[in-house]
Amino acid sequence: MQKHTFTITMFAGMAVLAVLAQLGVINQYLQSVIMLMGVNIILCSSLNLVNGYMGEFSCGHGGFMCVGAYASSLVTVLCFSKNHILGAPLLPDSLALLAFPLALAAGAAVAAVAGLVVAVPSFKTRGDYLAIITLAANYIVISAIDNLEIIGGPRGFMGMNATVNAMNDLVQIPWMLLWVLGGTLFSVWILRRFVSSTLGKGVPAIAQDEIAAEIMSVDTNRMKLIAFMLSSGLAGLAGGLFAHILGYVNPHSFDIMKSTEVMVMVYLGGMGSLSGATLSAVLFTVLLEVLRPLEIWKWVVIPLLLILLMQFRPEGIMGNKELSDLFPKLKKYYSFK
């Protein structure tokens, strides 16, 4: 029983959150902050796989998020809302609950395929040159969507609210909050399973020494392919959730600033630590909200904090340790790998 404490607490916490939101104890603003937190956790932990565990320097995570956001929004808008270009809804509203996770999965899958743009060059390229490829990939995605008039181009794309409303019509509970919590849990769980599996041990091996890893029979190309696709796929999932929280997407909200933001979170939390990534995503979201009254000075204070962090604790909050490494007694309370 003790071994399941952590899992039970987590699900209970989620249920409590949902009930509180349902009863209106937490207001809309707080709910949206929690949902943003979830999205940031997914982004941060997925980028941590590439930048932290694999030791690459990917600075185009926003691009994959953008691909996922547009792909899943396109599916839901096509299915459930009336759009003057894409036509009448294809599916009845009653199927919304079933179709929404599929739409999210579709977004993630398309983003994972987009991850190939970075994964394939990474076979030959490393370090700074790979960083440029990710950067260019981000620009290409934004620029391509800017030029697609059918999905709104630079004006953005909307109509996702219809799906959320359709779900609310079926059962009136805070659906988006539940989806975000579920998605967050799924992402952290799958990343945790991956990096602690025998296969996933190859990822830190690449970070330490690629050639040595290859000699030790790690199929480095395959590892890179998996890591990049998993990372960008989860970013796509985060994008899909983000798009449906806001009900509106604009290509320029996924530009290099977004990628920088995610990078900040990764290095704040510590490279190669999932609990660090989660912690820093939560902290960073709270920090952004707390510093909101500072307006534009916010973006002076946050970089300054990170510079100070780099000077005095460059490994981030957690370094490459997990929470359970720092507090070994925690290990009693969970059983998952």
Binding site: F57, P121, I133, A137, I142, E210, I296, V300, P303
Partner: protein, 307 residues
């Protein structure tokens, strides 16, 4: 004739990219550090030029203006801006990069610091000076020469000549002088160089002075060509110049020039044929293709890694 007009425009745009890319490549060549703040140093350079120019001209309602003539103002603005901009670069080096280097921190942490320094420059500027755009005073009487349908302004010629001269100068410094030899030495082995009696920090500061003053020069020329200044002007052009430097083979001066002009030609070429919104898409796709085929850039040399 339209073709030659496009070529001229491409040369002008390429010159801006090349001037900024040179700063990236110099610092990278010596320190193996991507100085992500460089694009914003270019922006700061343009702003410094603006303030120096209006101070000297007495334009824009500045009471303390010296009321000099535009020509004299330009002659003073260029060196003053280059010196002040290089001070900004050196300040970044002294306060942020050097302490990290002393601690022997991983290269990555320095890169993050650089990225954050860029954000501070951008947003600090926005917070201090507000979002209103500044319009740069006209310092140079515009002269248009026309050769058989191709019109050239004197500014365009100055920009292109400046890029070529700077390239020649830097190539000379790096390959022919003692300090250049020291710079190449540091990039080869950072630990052996101090043992040879070469002051490491002095050489690095010199590198930052060179790179930042070129960014300052690019800032003035850019502000004169496109006289609207805004805090984010350095971000996009900086990233693009950086990509140009990498495509040329980062760390190589010839690479920066070739990459910069290549980017200029691609962008103008795309705009000449397709709608201008497709410019970034094509430019970045071509550059991605080049990196795909030649992973270390056009002039870059692949290093063999030992276990």
């Amino acid at each position: 004739m339209e073709f030659f007009q496009h070529v001229l425009n491409a040369l002008q745009f390429g010159s801006f990219y090349a001037l900024i890319a040179l700063g990236y490549t110099l610092v990278y060549g010596v320190l193996r550090l991507i100085n992500f703040a460089h694009g914003d140093i270019f922006m700061v350079g343009a702003y410094i030029a603006y303030f120096v120019a209006i101070m000297l001209l007495g334009a824009d309602g500045v009471a303390a203006g010296a009321g000099l003539s535009p020509g004299l103002t330009l002659a003073i603005t260029v060196p003053v801006t280059m010196i002040l901009t290089s001070l900004v670069g050196v300040t970044l080096e002294r306060t942020m990069y050097r302490p990290l280097r002393r601690k022997g921190a991983d290269r990555l942490y320095v890169v993050i610091t650089a990225l954050m320094a860029g954000l501070i420059l951008e947003n600090g500027n926005l917070a201090l000076l507000g979002a209103s755009r500044k319009s740069f005073p006209e310092l140079l009487q515009k002269v248009v020469w026309t050769f058989g349908g191709v019109s050239v302004t004197n500014l365009k010629v100055i920009v292109i000549v400046a890029a070529v001269v700077v390239f020649g100068l830097l190539q000379f410094i790096v390959t022919r002088t003692k300090i250049g030899m020291a710079m190449r030495g540091i990039s080869y082995d950072k630990f052996a160089i101090p043992l040879m009696g070469i002051p490491l920090d002095t050489i690095i500061v010199f590198t930052f002075i060179l790179g930042s003053s070129m960014a300052g020069l690019a800032g003035i020329l850019f502000a004169m060509s496109y006289p609207i200044l805004e805090p984010y002007m350095g971000a996009l052009i900086g990233w693009k110049a950086f990509i140009a430097a990498v495509v040329g083979g980062i760390g190589d001066i010839r690479g920066a020039i070739v990459g910069g002009f290549l980017l200029g030609f691609i962008e103008i070429g795309v705009v000449a044929v397709f709608p201008s919104t497709l410019r970034d898409l094509f430019a970045f796709s071509v550059l991605l293709g080049i990196l795909w085929l030649k992973p270390t850039g056009l002039f870059g040399v692949a290093k063999t890694t030992k276990i």
